[in-house]
């Protein structure tokens, strides 16, 4: 039954009386060119069944052959989360009938998954969080049933059937929708970081099921959980959990009990609806797939993957905080995407100076420009070396911050490197004390009334004088220098 609307009594009682417990199961589509058990392409958007091979449509007599690339990606993940990569794991059949499940079973891993344990570390605000992982296992995706296009019939598109998935199961370590979203974002960043998943949530490459329960504060035992299926955006994860928590709390408060069931989130109505209860749960009759020998991963393979693995976000964040003097949330922003981190690192390397300056520019001007133009950081119109060239002129006080922004915009528009633009536009900051003293003296002479106000103790009037001096230089004066001269002149 669907429950709608927001209860007025809800907000306050929430945190005081109840604890929310959330675990996520995430399906990350692995970025292999071909499917997990067949040679068909995994490319998205082809006409229905264009990428369905004999194996994918489960013709009689065909057999699965495991894609090594999918295993390689699972190993990367296992190492990245500090989990245990099993030297021997087993593929099992999960048996159920559905038109988009051509074999009548899904090949998955059941008793012995490829990765056990591990944790995902992330930052909420400036606080470090950690969520434990239960396991991660390889499995194949099902196809799609298309109900809309055929009247009175259902179409089946098996392009997606057999697409490799890594199902990542967390422990119930999250205590709010916000934490769950932060975990999902960190996981999303990680799978892209280690290049195992393109993270495209619109295309379903990364989707979550949330297990949600509530218990009275102080209770040891977990409450009965509901599983919300197929959440394919961070916003939906947040909204669905918030709705579900409210639903469960109100249900218990009204004397009811939560029934273990699978629910679907309807984003249009912002509610979750019952899909099937535990009693309807199918017996999947798991058993080891006799067509696939156990998956053996030797230590040499693991070592090769380990050697390939890039520095991971949490290690990079720690280094940025310790060595670069960044704040945790700044480091978190810079490590949200590997391309951004790479851009930042290259800027710092080329600049050879203040990492904080580089960080502020990457987080500020660069991100804003990327957002405006809608291009990914890898194809930014100002590359990291070019940005470093600009920041050198800020460090040596050639440019004020404001001027630097102007130069950056010109660089973005393709007018050349920082020095070329500075020279062409005559934007060099005036830091020559003699020249500035003359300008300041002229300003003081021209505005005796403001000078009087300053002497009467008006703070604002002082700033007005700075502004006049800056205007007289068309913004090129070094503001710090102007300040210092004014203070000396006015006996401050």
């Amino acid at each position: 039954m669907a429950v709608r609307g927001r209860s007025p009594r809800f907000e306050g009682i929430m945190t005081a009386k109840w604890e929310v417990v959330i675990g996520l199961e995430t399906h990350a589509q692995l970025s292999t060119a071909s499917k997990i058990f067949s040679g068909a392409s995994t490319a998205f958007g082809a006409p229905p069944n264009a990428h369905a091979s004999a194996v994918d449509i489960a013709l009689p007599g065909v057999l699965p052959v495991l894609n090594r690339g999918a295993v390689e990606r699972a190993i990367r993940f296992g190492l990245a989360v500090g989990g245990h990569v099993q030297p021997r794991s087993v593929f099992a059949r999960k048996n159920y009938f559905y038109p988009d499940l051509p074999k009548g079973y899904q090949i998955s891993q059941y008793e012995i998954p490829v990765v056990q344990g591990g944790r995902v570390e992330f930052v909420v605000g400036d606080a470090q969080k950690s969520v434990r992982l239960t396991r991660a296992h390889l499995e194949e995706d099902a196809g799609k049933s298309l109900h809309e296009d055929f009247s009175g019939m259902t179409g089946v598109d098996l392009n997606r059937a057999g697409t490799p998935l890594l199902e990542i199961v967390s422990e119930p370590d999250m205590r709010s929708a916000e934490e769950a979203v932060a975990y999902a974002k960190a996981l999303h960043a990680l799978v892209r970081w280690i290049d195992i998943c393109d993270g495209n949530m619109q295309e379903g490459s990364f989707r979550c099921d949330a297990n949600v329960s509530v218990r009275r504060a102080g209770d040891e035992a977990l409450g009965t959980r509901c599983e919300i299926k197929n959440l394919n955006s961070f916003r939906f994860i947040e909204k669905a959990i918030q709705f579900e928590v409210r639903r469960q709390v109100e249900l218990i408060d009204d004397g009811g009990t939560v029934v273990q069931e699978t629910r679907l989130y309807d984003p249009d109505r912002d509610e979750t609806r019952s899909m099937r209860s535990k009693e309807d749960a199918q017996d999947y009759r798991y058993f080891p797939d006799p067509d696939l020998p156990p998956l053996a991963i030797d230590s040499a393979w693991v070592a090769r993957v380990q050697a390939w693995l890039p520095e991971l976000p949490q290690a990079m964040r720690a280094r940025m905080v310790e060595r670069h003097g960044l704040l945790p949330h700044e480091a978190a922003i810079l490590t949200a995407e590997r391309d951004v981190a790479t851009y930042y690192e290259r800027t710092v390397a080329a600049l050879g100076g203040s990492a904080r300056l580089a960080a502020h520019w990457v987080i500020g001007e660069l991100s804003a420009a990327l957002n405006r133009s809608g291009v990914p950081v890898a194809s930014a119109k100002v590359g990291p070396e070019a940005l470093a060239g600009l920041l050198k002129r800020v460090e040596d006080k050639t440019l004020s911050g404001k001027l630097a922004s102007t130069v950056f915009d010109a660089m973005w528009n393709g007018e050349g490197d920082a020095d070329t633009i500075i020279a062409a536009r005559g934007l060099k900051q005036i830091s020559d004390t003699g020249a500035l003293e003359k300008i300041v003296d002229d300003v003081l002479a021209a505005h005796p009334a403001i000078v009087a106000e300053v002497k009467a103790g008006k703070e604002k009037a002082f700033n007005a004088l700075v502004g006049k001096a800056m205007a007289a230089t068309k913004g090129k004066a070094n503001p710090g220098e102007v300040n210092a001269i004014l203070k000396r002149r006015l006996g401050g």
Binding site: A54, I57, A58, L59, P60, G61, V62, L63, P64, V65, L66, R93, N95, F97, P99, P102, K103, G104, Y105, T154, V156, D283, R285, Y286, F287, P290, D291, L292, P293
Partner: protein, 498 residues
């Protein structure tokens, strides 16, 4: 000698020497198959046009001098194997109209060797049966006595070779489905080591047990067939990647007075106990005397866990089958009910109509043993016992080179004799099943007849990858006996019906 009486080796030599053409042999073969169809019902599909085209191509290849080893030799495939462009029914209404879009690995390999595919042979539905009584296309008759079953599940392939319709054919052996019909029809049937012949294109019954293999009248012919059929296939993850072997290499060695000197034959006590037909036991004893005369010695051995092989098999095989047959749901291919009300009803009716009683029985048993709460007690326990049986075999092969015994406890039985009692039917495979559970190779060869004129089969089992040895042991026996040369009354003697 008429061509149809010749062996594969003989035909290949005659074709190579251009003494006869494949078109001649194939035409005669097709005529005989059509004449025998009414009395034996060995075939589901006869492909005259396709066969003659292949025969012409084989003759052209022979003329050019680039022909494969078996170029022009007509053979038949069990209808469980996918054959591109031909209906592949698996003996079931479910696939009665299903045209295979690709060739199974062994089909492809035999094509490459130049064989001419004349048709698809009848079989128990989805290879489930020991009498060929479960086929949707009617029973196959035993050429030695058409009131008797030919055995199963590869009954059509066995009957076709026994009746001298084709010199060789393919079968698949999951619990004895090659060896048992070979024994009941008086021919040779080899089940190779699991993984030696790819299962790609074999419509799965029980994946961990299904093994393709050849039928022929001599061990040498089986070796020639296996040479073509064996090999690594990357499309089957359970196919073994081993260097290619010449399975005739032992057979080709010159014979001495005591060709089997030094061979230790293990006689499992469990294969000579109660339940073994007296005439069968006598024939086995006589065969063993022949082997001793050829220089072999015998040693009594024990396989204590083998007595559990039938119950273990009837847990594992249905479990795998229940899952393997899920793809036959009426959605993409195969039988779909004409009338249904919604998805669940479409599944229910399509499968109810498409599958026969024995298939349904095994799907039910398999579904049960995999169910939550029963898995450990049945499936897991069965897998443990399976390992015990393999341990028995390992210990046995430390004491002997091959094991011998009857292939089946009795000989061919009348239609209907066991069809009402599944357990009695299942016990027909009591001596053959262990070889599937262990994955070891075994051959059944004819070693005598009952007074009623029904053939008796001797099973020779070997350790993993000992096919060349087993085939040689069988070959030496056939050099010293003529059971394999005895032919039933010709079922194809009358005029062809057109």
């Amino acid at each position: 000698m008429a061509a149809h009486e010749d062996t594969i080796a003989g035909l290949a030599a005659a074709l190579a020497a251009r003494k006869l053409s494949s078109v001649e042999v194939t035409t005669a073969t097709l005529d005989r198959i059509e004449r025998a169809q009414q009395s034996l019902n060995a075939f589901v599909t006869i492909d005259r046009d396709g066969a003659l085209a292949q025969a012409k191509a084989a003759d052209a290849a022979r003329a050019r001098g680039d022909a494969g080893a078996l170029a022009g030799v007509p053979i038949a495939h069990k209808d469980v194997l996918m054959t591109a462009g031909l209906t592949t029914t698996c003996g079931s209404r479910m696939l009665a109209k299903f045209v295979a879009p690709y060739d199974a690995f062994v089909v492809e390999r035999l094509r490459r060797a130049g064989t001419v595919l004349v048709g698809k042979t009848n079989m128990d539905e989805f290879a489930m049966g020991s009498s060929n009584e479960t086929s949707y296309f009617g029973t196959v008759k035993n050429p030695w006595n058409t009131a008797m079953v030919p055995g199963g599940s590869s009954g059509g392939s066995a009957a076709a070779v026994a009746a001298r319709l084709v010199p060789g054919s393919t079968g698949t052996d999951t619990g004895g489905s090659i060896r048992q019909p070979a024994a009941l029809t008086g021919i040779c049937g080899l089940k190779p080591t699991y993984g030696v012949c790819s299962r790609y294109g074999l419509i799965a019954f029980a994946s961990s047990l299904d093994t393709p293999g050849p039928f022929a009248r001599t061990a040498e012919d089986c070796a020639l067939m296996l040479n073509a059929m064996a090999g690594h296939d990357p499309r089957d993850s359970t196919s073994l990647d081993r260097p290619a072997e010449d399975y005739t290499r032992e057979i080709a060695k010159p014979a001495s007075g005591k060709p089997l000197a030094g061979l230790r034959i293990g006689l499992p006590r469990e294969y000579f106990g109660d339940g073994l037909d007296a005439e069968v036991a006598a024939a086995i004893d006589a065969a063993l005397a022949t082997f001793r005369a050829l220089g072999a010695t015998t040693v009594d051995i024990e396989l204590p866990a083998v007595k559990l092989s039938v119950p273990v098999y009837y847990v594992i095989a249905p479990a795998e089958a229940s899952s393997n047959l899920s793809r036959f749901d009426g959605v993409r291919y195969g039988h779909r009910a004409a009338q249904y009300d919604g998805l669940a009803d479409m599944y229910r009716r399509s499968r109810a109509e498409g599958f026969g009683a024995e298939v349904k029985r095994r799907i039910l048993v398999g579904t049960y043993v995999l169910s939550h709460g029963y898995y450990d007690a049945y499936y897991l326990k069965a897998q443990k016992v399976r390992r015990l049986i393999a341990d028995d075999f390992r210990r046995a092969f430390a004491q002997c080179d091959v094991m011998m015994g009857a292939t089946t406890p009795g000989v061919a039985f009348p239609f209907g004799a066991k069809s009402a009692d599944p357990v009695a039917m299942y016990l027909n495979d009591i001596f053959t099943i262990a070889g599937n559970l262990t994955g070891t190779p075994a051959i059944s060869i004819p070693c005598g007849f009952t007074r009623a004129g029904l053939p008796i089969g001797l099973q020779i089992q070997g350790d993993y990858f000992s096919e060349a040895r087993i085939l040689d042991v069988a070959h030496r026996f056939q050099q010293a006996s003529d059971w394999h040369a005895r032919a039933p009354r010709d079922c194809a003697a009358s005029e062809p019906r057109r």
